[in-house]
Amino acid sequence: MRRLGPWGLLALGVAGGALALTAGDKVYVRARDTQVLKKASPTADTVAKLQPGDVVVWRGADKDQPQWHRVDVQGQVGFVWFSNLSAKPPDKELLTAPKGSRPVDPQAFASSGAAGKALTEGAIRYGTQDEKNKGDLKPSMHDAVRQTLTVEAIAQQRSVAELQSQAARVQGGTP
């Protein structure tokens, strides 16, 4: 029975060794557009593309390329870069509902519109109200609103491709 080594344990979010994965266990996808590849190589063909919260069956780290983990998904076998998997599911987010709140999974959250919010109208009103712009502090709170909205625009304009490129830069050749 194959078990995950200490590095994999840490990366899969079970640091401390309290949990250990066994082949056949369910694991969860962390990152957006996670690619499942035919072989343990960044240049291999794509078998499937997965989203945060998707479940795959963990089969173990590849013997020669231990950063690549073999998984079963949608009736197919493939390889996923270790850091895109987690032993724990992503958290659910609480969205406002007529009678209080309702929990939604990350994919539903991402498509709800709430996920893409910049500063809310309430926060903008907070920062632009006269009471908050009376003192001598620099920048003014109103300027802080404009700066924050600009940084949020920069953050939201980052593409999946940019993040994948960054991951490849860090990890040395992954897609």
């Binding site: 840490l10 500063l119 920062g127 620099k138 920069i154």
Partner: protein
């Protein structure tokens, strides 16, 4: 975050708030309430509403709104963000995808920080949050977060990091505070306390009135109307609740400055941050080394446990014995890179 207090100077005066508000003798207040036309039953009912408000589940919408106001305070008190704001109206800035971003050095720095930060954050337990990373123009070495996905580092911190693994570790630590919802502990109590200040003020309590003295009569009346209208659902984004949002935010920021987060929360963020850093592909030696190089004088990262304690805790997590850090993982993590910093950091210098 005490450095922010020093930077701010006039913050306390601006907020005019105190924590641990005393409302005096309740029976005296109730007696006084009768004389102001607010009967005892109304006061008790209002206080119950405040407890109910504090017990409500905090939705993402509320988290994002309160996080936004906290972020604005961090930005202002940190000396502003290193970013070039386009010369367009406020309304046009509200559509992030369409805001034109000029390729200036400061904007490129912010792009770089967001690429590094979002690559880390998407490995977290809240991968689909709209994470936002910014640099505040302060020479002090610090980093801080706000609920909803805001993470800021100081210009001084960027001058201190030696490689991208160190930077990623700092960002991961702050991401962990957001995913752990650490600020909620302070925020829940803040909501209850501030709401009760409004209730007591409505009932005629002089002590409560003193606690809210920096706010004008119209503002207090607006808060009282919001308390009266509360029916078990709290939408802080609505115009009707603007006074409550302001009261909650001002006091939350004040309490953050006073005490920061708990020691256990900081150590837990170190542990989770280390996991995230490794998950993103960086050597954990970067972050451990960065924390280990911080002076133990309490100036950098005030309110955190001493750096030496944090390093010991992280080395235990990594399986090291303190004498040979990371030895238990050396075979594997030694292959993980520290990664050179991007050239975009030049804009911080």
């Amino acid at each position: 975050m005490r450095w922010l207090l020093l930077l701010a100077g006039g913050l306390a005066a601006a907020c005019g708030v105190v924590s641990g508000i005393s409302h005096g003798n309740v029976s005296e207040t109730i007696a006084g309430a009768t004389s102001t036309g607010v009967n005892a039953a109304t006061l008790v009912n209002d206080l119950n509403k405040c407890d109910q408000m504090g017990a409500l589940a905090i939705t993402f919408d509320e988290e994002r709104t309160i996080g936004g106001t906290v972020a604005l305070n961090w930005v202002q008190l940190g000396g502003g963000l290193l970013v070039d704001v386009p010369a367009i109206p406020d309304a046009s800035l509200k559509t992030p995808a369409q805001v034109p971003i000029a390729p200036t050095p400061r904007n490129q720095l912010t792009v770089y920080l967001n690429v590094v930060g979002k690559n880390v954050a998407q490995r977290s337990s809240r991968p689909t949050l709209q994470w936002t990373f910014g640099v505040v123009d302060s020479p002090t070495v610090n980093a801080f977060s706000a609920p909803g996905g805001y993470v800021f580092v100081t210009r001084g911190l960027l001058l201190k990091v030696n490689n991208e693994a160190e930077l990623a570790g700092v960002l991961a630590h702050e991401v962990a505070h957001v995913t752990h919802k650490d600020a909620f502990v302070i925020y829940r109590q803040t909501k209850i306390d501030r709401c009760k200040s409004v209730a007591y003020t409505k009932a005629g309590s002089k002590e409560a009135g003193t606690a809210l003295r920096s706010y004008g009569p119209g503002f207090i009346q607006q808060a009282i109307r919001a308390l009266d209208a509360f029916n078990g659902v709290l939408d802080l984004d609505s115009v009707a609740n603007q006074a409550l949002l302001t009261l909650f935010s001002d006091e939350l920021v004040h309490r953050y400055f006073e005490s920061g987060l708990g020691r256990d929360q900081e150590l837990a963020a170190d542990a989770a941050g280390l996991e995230l850093t490794v998950a993103a592909g960086y050597s954990p030696r970067g972050f451990v080394g960065f924390v280990g190089a911080l002076p133990n004088d309490g100036k950098a990262f005030a309110h955190h446990p001493p750096p030496r304690d944090r390093v010991v805790a992280m080395n235990l997590l990594l399986g090291g014995n303190g004498l040979e850090p990371l030895s238990a993982l050396a075979v594997d993590t030694s292959k993980l890179p520290l990664v050179p910093l991007g050239n975009q950091l030049a804009a911080a210098r």
